[in-house]
């Protein structure tokens, strides 16, 4: 059974449709990549899935349960965590405390367990030596890493990653891929929006392509990347960037 399933999800801001009859599903333990040009509605789709934005229609199911009307907090506690494309740190708290919020509130752990989890995750994401630094004073790269660490500390069953590889060096990118692959090995299902395609291809099992709020292609990553339709759009992104 699919762990996450969208069927006919729609969202419009006035005349602009940002999610147009979107249907796709994520199998348990699967890693799904999402690509598409800027403004295609990828992040909006995450907002709909996590509940920070209400849908206009359609249903979202988590492990078969209809969560379409659930508030964002409940979805997180049920096992849906995300990283934000534009980092949203708790600026007045340290890196460790940022992670601690996720571990106690999202994962619902007790203090001792939460502390151990946070230290472990910060170590794996390379943030441990900065654990006592206030999150408000971090560089963009560190903030992005914190986004990943915090989402991991919520102990999700489904992890939604929104452009976390952008701006990384070759070496950092490799270690990020390693981190994500290790996460997968623990059984977490992943949806990953990413412009850094080589990173995406090193991880995902399947790819969907979104443009103008619609899913225009879906399938095996290499085949999708090689398809003419996608190449056109994708090269368009390259030119923009």
């Amino acid at each position: 059974m699919a762990i996450l399933e969208l069927s006919g999800v729609r969202k419009a801001f006035g005349a602009i449709t940002v999610a147009d009859d979107q249907s796709w599903s994520l199998e348990e333990g699967e890693a799904l990549g999402v690509i598409g040009p800027n403004g295609a509605g990828k992040t909006t789709m995450f907002n709909l899935v996590t509940g920070t934005l209400p849908v206009d229609g359609g249903t979202i199911r988590l492990s078969g349960e209809d969560i379409t009307q659930w508030p964002a907090a409940r979805r997180c506690r049920a096992g849906l965590a995300r990283s934000f494309q534009v980092p949203q740190p708790f600026g007045g708290m340290t890196i460790f405390e940022n992670a601690f919020v996720a571990a106690t509130q999202g994962a619902g752990l007790g203090v001792d367990e939460a502390e151990a989890l946070c230290l472990d995750v910060l170590d794996r994401t390379g943030l441990l030596r900065k654990a006592n630094t206030m999150a408000g004073g971090l560089t963009l790269l560190e903030r992005k890493r914190l986004e990943l660490a915090r989402a991991m500390c919520a102990r999700p069953r489904v992890l939604l990653l929104d452009e976390i590889a952008g701006g990384l060096t070759e070496h950092e990118c490799k270690s990020l891929i390693e981190t994500i692959n290790r996460l997968r090995a623990t059984g977490i299902s992943i949806v990953w929006i990413e412009h850094v395609v080589h990173a995406l291809l090193a991880v995902v099992d399947r790819l969907i392509v979104i443009d103008f709020g619609r899913k225009i292609a879906e399938g095996e990553p290499r085949a999708i990347m090689d398809s003419r339709e996608v190449r056109e759009i994708y090269l368009g992104i390259e030119a923009d960037a």
């Binding site: 907090a73 708790f90 340290t94 405390e97 601690f100 919020v101 006592n132």
Partner: protein
């Protein structure tokens, strides 16, 4: 992995807590070393410290910018008068009873005004305070629009001698300040407090990490209202007289309090305490100059907003996050210098 641990106290906070303990002992003994006028002043300082801590809890942490907290100060005063005059309660019992009534009334009020956002919420809280004022002005047994005085019998029930009363009221003010600051401190240290601090910093991230924002804010609102009612009860026990205009004064119970919190540093536990001390230092040195005093307050407020937008404590706190109350969690045993 290296041997790491998480601790909440720092040398600074341990020192500060020891200093605070010593200061409390000295202040507890004030009736023996201070004159009547000073005692009244100290009592007033503690009451304002409580109001400022509570307003900061509400606005600085939960983001509920209320300009209507006078609703609960006044309600506390009136409930205290009613409980002692009509129900014959001992003043010491009437105070917690008033606090419970305040908390109970605040729950439906919260459900109503939480439907409003931002500026509309602020205005809504003020409207609620005005409704309370108009309501109590209608109660003729409490003196209607012109107010009433606390009967001599009730006052004497507290203590026969005037010095005894003054000392007792002072200790109550000190006790309430300790209770309020202690309650907010305990709340912030708890799991709920972790959630609340997250809400303070970023609501979007907070709800995405499993925090029920409405429920957390509701709890803060009700706790704040109950404790504000308690403070209000004591304020009017000290004044011995209540009237709708004095009880629900937006200037005395909210504007001054907002000034204190903004000067001291919003969103920190230390800020309102520091702000209260600064406010009273200004008032006691400049109050005789009349209008100049008000101009000075205005200048201070503008200067702080321009040069220290996070308040005086924000300036001290800096990027390192120095704190006197052991709230944050620090990882110990990192190889980096500084920790």
């Amino acid at each position: 992995m290296r041997d790491l641990s998480v601790s909440r106290s720092t040398p600074a906070s341990t020192l500060a807590m020891a200093a605070l303990g010593a200061a409390l002992l000295v202040m507890f003994a004030a009736p023996w070393w201070a004159g009547r006028a000073e005692l009244r002043l100290f009592g007033e300082i503690f009451l304002y410290m409580s109001l400022a801590t509570l307003w900061n809890f509400l606005a600085g942490y939960a983001g509920l910018v209320s300009v209507g907290q006078q609703a609960y100060v006044g309600l506390g005063g009136y409930m205290f008068f009613a409980a002692t005059m009509f129900w014959g309660l001992n003043p010491l019992l009437a105070l917690p009873v008033a606090a419970l009534i305040g908390a109970a009334i605040s729950a439906p009020v919260a459900a109503l005004i939480f439907r409003l956002r931002g500026a509309y919420f602020a205005i809504g809280t003020w409207v609620v305070a005005e409704v309370f004022l108009l309501t109590f002005a209608q109660v003729t047994s409490l003196g209607g629009g012109s107010g009433t005085s606390l009967p001599v019998g009730v006052v004497k029930g507290l203590s026969e001698s005037r010095d005894g009363r003054e000392a007792l009221i002072y200790w109550l003010a000190l006790g309430i300040a300790v209770l309020v600051v202690g309650a907010v401190f305990a709340f912030l240290r708890s799991r709920r407090g972790v959630a609340l601090t997250a809400i303070r910093d970023n609501e979007l991230a907070a709800k995405s990490l499993g925090i029920d924002i409405w429920w957390t804010k509701f709890t803060v609102y009700v706790v704040t209202a109950g404790l504000t009612t308690l403070v209000g009860g004591l304020i009017f026990l000290q004044k011995l007289r209540i009237s709708p205009d004095a009880a629900f004064s937006v200037n005395d119970w909210t504007a001054v309090v907002i000034f204190i919190v903004v000067i001291g540093g919003i969103g920190t536990l230390e800020g309102p305490i520091l702000g209260t001390l600064v406010y009273f230092a200004l008032r006691e040195t400049l109050a005789d100059y009349g209008t100049i005093y008000l101009i000075a307050l205005g200048v201070v407020a503008i200067a702080v907003m321009l040069f220290a937008p996070k308040g005086l404590w924000g300036l001290i706190r800096g990027h390192r996050g120095t704190e006197l109350f052991p709230l944050s969690r620090r990882v110990r045993g990192l190889t980096e210098k500084g920790q």
